[in-house]
């Protein structure tokens, strides 16, 4: 809040006049900066209908730095003229003066002076007229005294071009008494305090109005990643449909479970270096169920179980190669095998399985960002071994109907 002294002085001024006062004039007469007075007006406005203030803007011309200098000491050309004694002055002497260079040409074009180039001791300058009239200075003096209206627009613009004058817009308030005008100020409370509630003083106080246009303070919150939220939703859908979630926390998989057991032939393009990440360490997997391995080999190389097979030389070395799991169906293969083992087990329940997890290669076309998100990174992820919502969500029908058929 502005200084109470200024506030009260202002109120008393307003009281004295009938129509109103101009903030600019009050500031000048009080000898304070206009901004201080503007602050006072705002403070008074916040107190209710004490005063009413109307914003006005007025334009006037003001001298710039060079203009002020000219108004005080005369134009450059006049000063050049003034500095030349009747016996003349050497040109080099004149040029040493601060205004010499600028004033010289203008004085020449005004035909106030002449140059005698043949003079002994170098070119010398003489007056050509007895007396001059320094119009520029007089015009500027008019402006300085606040009589700029006496100048023609053309003249003012010319001086403006010479950077001697500038037009400034001054915003001021026209202040009049408000409906509840008073010269005494009651300070408004900003907030309700525990003390006020305790002693009941809130009943007497006036409260400063809130600015409901402003934004609130941002809460200090964390949040989940948008893509992970989507994954949670998908997971939920499958759980609601009665699927059991498979353990997919095995990013490293053998080609055997990832490809061979799913009847993907060993020359399949997806098993190329271009399409699958192989591991150099640990490079090979071991410990496949031997009888099952034989069955897989047989159905690939010779066929069987109702299939013609691919009829090629199936190599266990190829199946052993470790890779980054390219799809979560690899987990389905393991689970189907295990379910098939349990077939004879009493208490085996029908089950659906669902693994919504990462596999290599992207199916997810997402560009979710969010305040802390980083869209570019998310997009990257779909290309590079990051597809949280990768496919592999298909229900395992065989398992559902209890007739697991594996090669």
């Amino acid at each position: 809040m502005a200084d109470t002294g200024v506030l009260e002085t202002l109120l008393r001024r307003i009281e004295k006049v009938d129509d109103g006062v101009d903030s600019l004039e009050v500031a000048t007469s009080l000898g304070v900066d206009h901004q201080v007075l503007v602050g006072a007006v705002k403070s008074l406005q916040a107190l209710g209908d004490l005063i009413s203030a109307e914003l006005r803007s007025s334009k006037h011309w003001e001298l710039l730095g060079e203009g002020t200098e000219i108004a005080e000491q005369g134009s450059h050309e006049a000063r050049v003229f003034g500095s030349i004694p009747p016996e003349g002055l050497g040109q080099s002497e004149l040029m040493k003066l601060s205004f010499g260079k600028i004033g010289f040409s203008k004085a020449m074009s005004n035909k106030w002076i002449r140059v005698d180039k043949a003079h002994e001791g170098g070119p010398r300058i003489f007056r050509t007229v007895e007396d001059i009239e320094d119009q520029v200075r007089e015009k500027l003096l008019l402006v300085q005294r606040g009589n700029s209206s006496k100048l023609e627009e053309k003249e003012k613009n010319e001086l403006k071009k010479r950077k001697l004058l500038s037009e400034v817009t001054v915003k001021s308030y026209w202040i009049t008494k408000g409906s509840s005008f008073s010269t005494t100020i009651t300070k408004l409370e900003t907030e309700l305090t525990p003390e006020m509630i305790a002693n009941g003083s809130w009943k007497e106080k006036k409260f400063k109005p809130y600015n409901f246009e402003a934004m609130g303070v941002a809460p200090d919150c964390g949040h989940m990643h948008p893509l992970m939220k989507v994954r949670t939703q998908f997971r939920q859908i499958f759980l609601e449909m009665g699927f059991t979630e498979m353990p997919t926390n095995n990013f490293i998989e053998s080609s055997f479970w990832n490809f061979d057991s799913l009847f993907q032939p060993q020359q399949h393009p997806a098993r190329d270096q271009h399409d699958t990440f192989f591991l150099s360490d640990p490079a090979l997997a071991h410990g496949f169920p031997p009888d099952y391995l034989e069955r897989v080999k047989k159905v690939h190389s010779e066929g069987g179980y109702g299939s013609q097979g691919y009829k090629y030389d199936w190599k266990v070395e190829e199946a052993q190669k470790n890779i980054l799991r390219t799809h979560t169906t690899a987990v389905s293969a393991r689970m189907l095998y295990k379910l098939a083992q349990q077939e004879r087990d009493p208490g085996c329940h029908p089950s659906g399985r669902v693994p919504p997890d990462r596999g290599r290669g992207g199916r997810l076309r997402a560009h979710a960002g969010g305040p802390h998100g980083h869209p570019a990174r998310v997009l990257h992820q779909t290309r590079d071994y990051q597809a949280p919502l990768q496919a592999g969500l298909q229900p395992v029908h065989g398992a559902q109907h209890g007739s697991v058929q594996l090669p």
């Binding site: 490293i252 997997a285 410990g287 299939s307 980083h374 071994y385 007739s403």
Partner: protein, 712 residues
């Protein structure tokens, strides 16, 4: 999926009608294809090389059609049109026939033993009296190209050579020779080269350079000569110029050399079935004889039609429809699988033509029936069995923790599972050899060389990418890292981790420590040595000296927290202090009741269980329940009954339960339901009321005629 480009107007002409783009798109979809793009040569060139290059190109409209990778019979206009016409019942699938030449003496291709080391197989056939036009010729070349890219695995498995038979004279010899000894004028060249010269000539050929590696390092290159020593081709690289086919060619000699004989036969069948359409006797192919090094001979192409029998019930069940057998046979016939009802039950005999090498088992036939039926016409049904949903316990715990960590004011990050070696070693002040990291043999970029062994670098990179966000940055992630583990079949395992980082003007160790305390509170672990958790000062090169503590849970170290070392911050381009926490999540499992599933498969053959105590007798009033008939009778009996006798479980149920040699399969639904129910009485079965009747007979007892069915 390969994409086949065909000229729209040619396609419509061959189909005998025009379609709007939408109609054709719809047709493709019904047939299991996808109209990928409608474009023109001009458009393609201007897109790929800029508008200026495209000025002279043709603006004939092209349809780009996505074809399933194993449907080699749809890789050219001829095959596509034939497939669609049969599908629309406008054409009967042609019968491809192998015929003997009019002269009586078939062309011979003699394979010498030298080929064994480089490319041992070859097959051949002749297209007699064929008529080429510019379009047919282009399609003929294009199909070879498509086959080379797909089934031939970039010519490594099979390479096709086609020759103007009238320019050469058989018998042909397929042999292998040292590169220096092979000399001929290759296709579209003006002079002769040796094979060795050719290999260096084609090093810069944008098309051929991709095939050189197949034979480059071999001591001998494969080559085919005619009886006059003219080189037909040097597979899998290039044909000879002498025998090249032109628009005027009337008789074409097709040879396929291969490392995989099955594939070679498929490719040869495909070439001749597609283009025999243009022979004077359409769909006939003149046989060629291949003579093996051991003197054995074989006639090609095989053009084998295979017959399969399957039941319409199988197809109906698998697809989830209920169509009469005749209708199913019609559907299959539409897909070029000529089918007829045999009259034995609901049996259908399906004939698989040589063009459908992709049909290798019953479910492929089922799939075609489903496609012809229209996937969108299959009614929605709900599963007949109920299942109980179950979360994977580790994921359940993770989901719960994530919720509460976000509620604690931390923001979840999702970072890459792969990173560079530096990220997990040098940048954290560790040695790569200490990390137990899994290494990728063929990384695509230096940024993704290993599977991460810690979540911390991911979070620090996320902070670096979000430095402009207002401080503090509070991030967390719960996800898997991968560690080498020799006890696993693949030699590695995932480990679920929780990592959090606090980045601000002050290190905020207390914030991270507070988060640890909150996490432990959520996990119901109290702050205490021994049974609870505690932290104690530790040394770790990732953290600032004296500002790192190790987290212990029940006396075992589960992770670390602390203020990061300024060097670490600098390497991740971070300017503010940062404190972080990383710990294992898995030790906190087991506080839930679920039994964990595991993906490990027992390496021992089958899981051997002790055989269930053999019941004294499997003979019951329902029949012998060790035989299917007895089980079925029991199943029927239980269809509308909860118990064997009366309205509650009695010793009668227990006795019949014991008589069953094994748990019934789910096919016997009622029996299975009863079995599971009775099994749940296992503990209290002694207290079940006595049975009124006798249901289980002694093993050798004469059958006592108890009318169980009228007892109640």
């Amino acid at each position: 999926m390969p994409t086949v480009g065909v000229k729209r107007d040619l396609l419509f002409k061959a189909l005998g009608r025009t379609y709007t783009d939408e109609e054709f798109d719809e047709l493709c979809f019904e047939f299991g294809l996808e109209l990928d793009e409608i474009t023109s040569e001009k458009e393609i060139i201007s897109r790929e090389q800029g508008g200026s290059k495209a000025s002279g190109a043709s603006d004939v409209i092209l349809y780009k059609i996505d074809v399933p990778a194993n449907r080699y019979d749809l890789l050219c206009l001829e095959g596509l049109v034939r497939g669609l016409q049969v599908f629309k019942n406008k054409l009967e699938a042609p019968r491809y026939r192998r015929v003997a030449p009019v002269s009586g003496e078939p062309q011979k291709l003699i394979i010498t033993k030298e080929t064994a080391a480089v490319r041992p197989h070859a097959v051949a056939a002749v297209l007699r009296n064929i008529t080429f036009t510019q379009e047919r010729y282009d399609s003929f070349i294009e199909l070879q190209d498509k086959l080379h890219q797909n089934v031939c695995r970039k010519r490594s498995l099979v390479a096709i050579g086609t020759h103007d038979l009238d320019t050469v004279s058989g018998p042909f010899t397929y042999t292998a020779k040292p590169p220096g000894d092979i000399r001929f004028k290759p296709l579209n060249q003006t002079k002769e080269y040796t094979a060795a010269q050719l290999m260096s000539l084609y090093k810069t050929d944008s098309h051929l350079k991709h095939f050189l590696h197949i034979i480059e390092d071999k001591p001998a290159y494969p080559v085919i000569y005619d009886s006059n020593g003219v080189v037909l081709s040097m597979p899998p690289i290039i044909n000879g110029d002498h025998s090249k086919i032109s628009l005027n060619t009337k008789n074409v000699f097709v040879e396929c050399t291969a490392t995989d004989l099955t594939k070679a036969k498929i490719v040869l069948d495909m070439m001749v079935t597609m283009f025999s359409e243009y022979c004077s006797q359409p769909f006939t192919v003149e046989e060629a004889e291949v003579v093996y090094p051991d003197g054995k001979t074989c006639k090609y192409p095989e053009l084998a039609y295979r017959k399969e029998k399957l039941s319409s019930g199988f197809i109906n069940r698998k697809v989830g429809i209920n169509e009469p057998t005749e209708k199913i046979a019609q559907l299959l016939t539409k897909m070029c699988l000529r089918s007829e009802v045999t009259g034995v039950g609901d049996e259908i005999q399906v004939e698989i033509p040589p063009t459908r090498s992709d049909v290798i088992h019953a479910c492929d036939i089922m799939e075609d029936a489903a496609m012809a039926y229209g996937f969108n016409n299959i009614p929605y049904t709900t599963p007949g069995t109920y299942t109980v949903a179950n979360q994977f316990p580790l994921n359940k715990l993770t989901e719960l923790l994530r919720q509460d960590l976000a509620a604690a004011g931390f923001t979840e990050a999702l970072t890459f599972a792969l990173c560079s070696k530096e990220d997990i070693s040098d940048k954290l002040g560790k040695k790569i050899s200490e990390t137990r990291a899994v290494h990728i043999a063929n990384p695509k970029t230096a940024e993704f060389q290993v599977a991460r062994t810690t979540l911390l670098p991911g979070l620090l990179k996320t902070i670096a990418a979000n430095r402009k966000m207002p401080l503090p940055l509070k991030l967390f992630e719960i996800s898997d890292v991968v560690l080498k583990d020799e006890t696993k079949d693949v030699g590695a395992r995932n480990s679920r981790r929780f990592c959090a980082a606090y980045y601000n003007k002050s290190p905020g160790f207390e914030v991270i420590h507070g988060l640890l305390d909150r996490t432990m509170q959520l996990l119901a672990v109290k702050a205490a040595r021994g049974d609870g958790y505690h932290i104690q000062a530790s040394d770790d090169s990732t953290f600032f000296p004296g500002r790192c503590a190790e987290i212990f849970f029940r006396g075992k170290s589960v992770g670390r927290l602390g203020v990061l070392h300024p060097d670490v911050l600098g390497r991740f381009e971070l300017a503010m202090p940062c404190s972080a926490l990383e710990m294992d999540v898995e030790p906190f499992l087991g506080r839930t009741a679920e039994t964990a599933l595991a993906h490990e498969v027992a390496a021992a053959a089958a899981v051997h269980r002790p055989p269930p105590a053999r019941p004294a007798s499997t003979r019951t009033v329902f029949g012998d329940v060790s035989a299917p008939a007895g089980l079925r009778a029991l199943d029927d009996f239980l269809a509308d009954k909860s118990y064997v006798e009366g309205f509650e479980a009695t010793q009668a149920d227990a006795a019949v339960f014991d008589a069953l040699p094994a748990a019934p399969g789910p096919a016997l639904r009622h029996l299975a339901r009863w079995y599971n129910h009775i099994e749940s009485f296992r503990r209290e079965r002694g207290g079940l009321p006595a049975a009124k009747g006798r249901f289980v007979l002694d093993a050798f007892e004469e059958h006592v005629d108890v009318d169980a069915f009228n007892k109640i």
